[in-house]
């Protein structure tokens, strides 16, 4: 793998793997943050006395 560094077209290989990692990481973080935000919203509603029909454990 060390032979890759400085090799011809190294920038293209790095860009392809870099953009893949960045997009997939951003997508994962976005999904996790949305989950946390939704749980917070549901907690706030329950504190306000609004009960859910079904209470998830997730």
């Amino acid at each position: 793998m060390s032979a890759l560094f400085g090799a011809k077209y190294f920038g293209f290989i790095l860009s392809a793997f870099g953009i893949t990692a960045a997009v997939l990481l951003a997508l994962t973080i976005w999904i996790v943050l949305v989950h946390k935000s939704r749980l917070r919203q549901l907690d706030a509603l329950e504190k306000a006395g609004i009960k859910r029909a079904s209470r998830p454990n997730g």
Binding site: M1, L4, A7, K8, Y9, F10, F12, I13, S15, A16, F17, I19, T20, V23, L24, L27, T28, I31, V32, V34, H35, R38, L39, Q41, L42, L45, A48, I50, K51, R52, A53, S54, R55, P56, N57, G58
Partner: protein, 260 residues
């Protein structure tokens, strides 16, 4: 047959209950995350250990992210197609949740397929982009994904948006065989199929095995993200229902008191 076991729902019917589905996600998710990380690590190690290709040199390694991204872009769309059928034919409560949750993930993989393909094309073809049938039909897939995401967000009523989106998903599915066979039906700069083809893969085993491992890793990643996104969508619907309930209570305080 009046026992509890006989009355107990099973399979897809059991999963129609959001609480039961969320409990299943809670159990399955840790295993999926660990398997995905493990397979991605193995796939990346295998991918970077392959020798240079005699024609493409070191850039052949781009294949290990480009091809799995393309597979998942089309795979996610097929999940949406089964969700659309679930909405229109079986009216399964989680069908629209599954379809809607797959859209942003599919769009991300489609974008990655286009981006990594373009980055690979520049040194190999001498151009970032060409309007050939494969590239154009794949760009159309991204536009379909973005259009569907916009449609789901634009229509407020869930049942109406589910039906409208399901019809668009099924019409858009015509693009999937066009993408798949575009390299056979038309003269394209993009190469023909080299893995899923009659007569078996044309790739050498030392390229094929890392590619299959990366494909499986991306598949597990898709399942992981899709389950997480479905969980978010179920919570969004529960929040919406709770907010409506709260709004009704504020409008009609007498009803609120009597309902206690």
């Amino acid at each position: 047959m009046t026992t509890d076991a006989a009355n107990k729902p099973s399979g897809l019917t059991a999963l129609a209950n959001p609480t039961r589905f969320l409990a299943l996600v809670r159990i399955v998710l840790p295993y999926l995350v660990v398997s995905t990380v493990l397979l991605l690590s193995i796939g990346l190690w295998m991918g970077f250990s392959v020798p240079d290709d005699y024609q493409q040199g070191r850039t052949v390694r781009i294949m290990f992210v480009h091809v799995p991204s393309v597979w998942m872009a089309m795979g996610a769309y097929m999940v949406m197609v089964s969700g659309a059928l679930g909405v229109l034919v079986w009216r399964h409560p989680l069908a629209d949740v599954a379809a809607r949750s797959a859209a942003p993930i599919g769009a991300a993989f489609t974008f990655l397929g286009l981006a990594t393909g373009s980055i690979w094309g520049r040194p190999m073809w001498g151009t970032w982009w060409v309007w050939d049938a494969r590239l154009t039909s794949f760009l159309v897939l991204l536009i379909i994904y973005l259009g569907l995401i916009a449609l789901w967000n634009a229509v407020e009523e869930p049942a109406k948006s589910a039906r409208m989106a399901a019809v668009v998903v099924l019409v858009g599915a015509l693009n999937i065989p066009i993408i798949r066979f575009s390299v056979e039906w038309f003269t394209t700069l993009h190469q023909g199929p080299s893995v899923m083809r009659a007569g078996g893969p044309s790739l050498a085993p030392h390229f094929l095995y890392p590619l299959l491992v990366m494909g499986l890793a991306f598949l597990l990643l898709f399942f992981t993200l899709h389950l997480m996104a479905m969980r978010n969508e179920i919570l969004r619907r529960q929040i919406r229902t709770a907010q409506r309930k709260a709004a009704r209570g504020h409008r009609n305080p007498v009803a609120r008191e009597t309902s206690k």
